[in-house]
Amino acid sequence: MNDPAENLEDRLTVFIVDDDASVRDSLALLLGLRGFNTRVFESADSFLAAASGGAEKWAGCLLTDIRMPGLSGLELLKLLGRGEAPRIAIPVVIMSAHGDVASVRQAFRDSAVDFLAKPFSEEDLIAAIEQSFSIDRRRLKSEMQHHRQQGMIDSLTEREREICDLMIDGLSNHEIAAKLDISHRTAQVHRGHIMQKMGAATLAELISRCRNG
């Protein structure tokens, strides 16, 4: 909740899932040299096992092979898409040594970001990862904003929250004062506090912040 925004780039990691040790190792080496954080898994199952131990903060990109012992890459993709796996929302890039049309189609139906036919060039690889990262950054930012707003709303007192709801309903200070049986001046003070705590300058801003909350 209190993760500062500058931490975001550090969190972005490339999660590599491939049953071939050389492919895994070479990808980790290359991407490491290019300045990416990497984590490698030898199967979809081991990836899921690691994720079940706390994947809420995982961010970046999942780079997975299709044909592997156990769960295949496409099955893993489907699992993540359906939300059945522990809450992992990172974008997925599929790699395949086969690249037949059916699996490409399946991958994109399950909203993979890219499909890399092995062997692939470094440019294609980096481009796919960068695209995934930018998608995940957007997700993380909106998540953080969400948290921030939630924090603001939490900082309101009981009374303030009551008045905030009435403000959003469009009631004026006079109307709020009459409705809650308080003085006009008190209503005015409350309104000032609410706007300050929610960081809103106008009523429209206040409504927008509260809506997402």
Partner: protein
């Protein structure tokens, strides 16, 4: 078949006339008085074969040959006007039969399918029945003969039908290169020789019997003939039938059989021929099916292998490429000399890994012909793009392209047909690459064929394909090229045949490949 030159044509005509006269004379046995009808007439086969192979323009040669035969061999019993009439009736009759065989649905001269054999027999039987009627009627009218007309008609019918049924399949098959090789190959087979000896023995046995028993024991001839049919198909049966016919004629002459028995013997021979041919063609069909199944299985196995190889090789290639890129990344981080060749070399390693991946991809795509996705498409446009693209890639070769003036639509799988043309172009390119001093030329043209087919020719100025390799090059895993996998042509042929067309190579000093595709009949013209 290719258009023969004028000189060659006259040579063919001369050979035909001589052969016709010889056969006519040789078979002029037991003629029926007045109508001059004989119980064995092989010479019409020659006339029909000529008309089928050369075309209707040869009809005057046929007419002259018949006229010459009439005047030379039957001069004492005929007159010039009568001979001219007989010639005209017969020539027209033969021409009609030839037209029926080459009509809108031509009979395949290789006679590989039951339908072709059945239609050939029907055309012969009905054709000689009608020709006989016309001949007998015209003789009746001109000479006022009435007596024996029905018998003459029957004799003509049997004689011509037997003559043609026995010899026409062999003559037609000899015009087909593959069949010809098959037949010639049999001549060297010991088994076939033994079977022919068995045939001769049966003939000797039948004709050593008194005349009354000859018909009864005629069935003995069925044994060696059916043996031949089952073992060698039509290629073995057709020559054996001619052989049996000649044997029967010698036997008849040798044993002094009466004219009536000869007719009966001929009817039996007809039954023998029909039974033998049908067994033979069924054997051929089964053979063909089993061969095509074997080809398919071979290709399917190759496809699975290609997919397995693709996976197994792409993994290490990926790793190789990544490591090379990683090395470059390391190089960039460390201080290096300004003209250090290492980054360039590492780049080349990556490029080669990618190239190997590309080769594997193409190999795998080549075998992916499982499902067809056919759509109506303009062949001119599709092929023009490929040829143009090819011409750009190979500026050192003169590539010409001749499209049809109008659009031609066919229902095809574009990817697969494109693959076939690319494959033929690549082969042509490989062939002309051997031309160091002479011209490097590839000509591609599209033309319309009869019966709703379009034909695409790919000619090159390379060395061409020698006669003995013309079937071999279509076999899977046979290749002339050092680095060839031997799958291109066999796969291309499978693709074209699955579209209902044909892919063939023509003999010649230069490379000549062509494929046909059925046109899609629409209102687009």
């Amino acid at each position: 078949m290719p258009e023969p030159t004028r000189r060659r044509l006259f040579f063919i005509y001369a050979v035909f006339v001589v052969a016709y006269l010889v056969l006519d004379r040789a078979s002029y046995l037991f003629p029926l008085p007045g109508f001059n009808v004989t119980p064995w007439n092989p010479q019409p086969s020659l006339a029909i074969a000529l008309l089928v192979l050369i075309g209707q323009k040869a009809i005057w040669v046929v007419y002259l040959a018949i006229l010459a035969a009439e005047l030379m061999f039957r001069w004492e019993v005929t007159s010039l006007s009568s001979a001219m009439l007989v010639g005209a009736v017969l020539a027209l009759g033969y021409s009609a039969m030839a037209t029926a065989m080459r009509g809108s649905r031509p009979i395949a001269l290789s006679l590989r399918h039951r339908e072709d054999v059945a239609r050939l027999l029907v055309v012969i039987t009905v054709g000689s029945l009608l020709t006989g009627l016309a001949l007998v009627l015209s003789i009746m009218v001109t000479r006022g003969l009435l007596e024996g007309a029905l018998l003459a008609w029957l004799r003509f019918w049997i004689g011509d039908t037997v003559g043609m049924v026995v010899s026409l399949p062999l003559i037609l098959m000899l015009s087909n290169e593959v069949r010809r090789k098959q037949i010639i190959g049999l001549g060297r087979s010991r088994e076939y020789l033994g079977q022919c000896i068995a045939l001769v023995a049966s003939l000797l046995l039948v004709f050593s019997l008194p005349e009354s028993l000859q018909l009864e024991f005629f069935y003995l001839l069925f044994l060696p003939l059916i043996w031949i049919a089952v073992r060698h198909g039509l290629a073995g049966t057709a020559p054996a039938m001619v052989f049996a016919q000649v044997g029967v004629i010698f036997g008849v002459i040798g044993s002094g059989t009466s004219s009536l028995s000869v007719l009966e013997l001929q009817v039996l021979l007809l039954a023998l021929a029909i039974a033998g041919f049908f067994i033979a063609v069924v054997v051929d069909e089964r053979q063909e099916i089993s061969e095509s199944l074997q080809r398919t299985l071979k290709l399917a196995a190759a496809g699975e292998m290609a997919a397995a190889i693709a996976h197994e090789l792409n993994q290490p290639l990926t790793a190789l490429n990544n490591y090379a890129q990683a090395c470059r990344a390391i190089m960039e981080k460390t201080q290096s000399l300004p003209d250090d060749p290492l980054p360039r070399v590492l780049g080349q390693i990556s490029a080669e890994a990618m190239r190997a991946g590309d080769v594997i991809r193409r190999l795998r795509d080549l075998f992916k012909g499982g499902r067809l996705e056919r759509m109506e498409c303009d062949l001119n446009g599709l092929l023009a793009d490929i040829v143009e693209d090819f011409g750009h890639k190979h500026p050192d070769v003169a590539v010409t392209w001749q499209a049809l003036p109008q659009q031609v639509f066919a229902r095809i799988d574009e990817v697969q047909v494109a693959l076939v043309l690319r494959n033929l172009l690549q082969n042509a390119f490989d062939a002309v690459s051997k031309n160091v001093n002479s011209e490097k030329r590839i000509d591609v043209s599209v033309s319309k064929e009869d019966h709703g087919f379009v034909r695409v020719d790919v000619l090159d100025s390379g060395p061409g394909v020698a006669g003995d390799r013309q079937e071999k090059i279509f076999e899977p895993f046979y290749s002339d090229k050092l680095s060839g996998m031997g799958v291109g042509l066999s796969l291309s042929r499978t693709i074209i045949e699955s579209h209902g067309g044909q892919l063939e190579v023509e003999p010649g000093p230069e490379g000549r490949f062509y494929f046909t595709l059925p046109l899609h009949e629409t209102s687009h013209e």
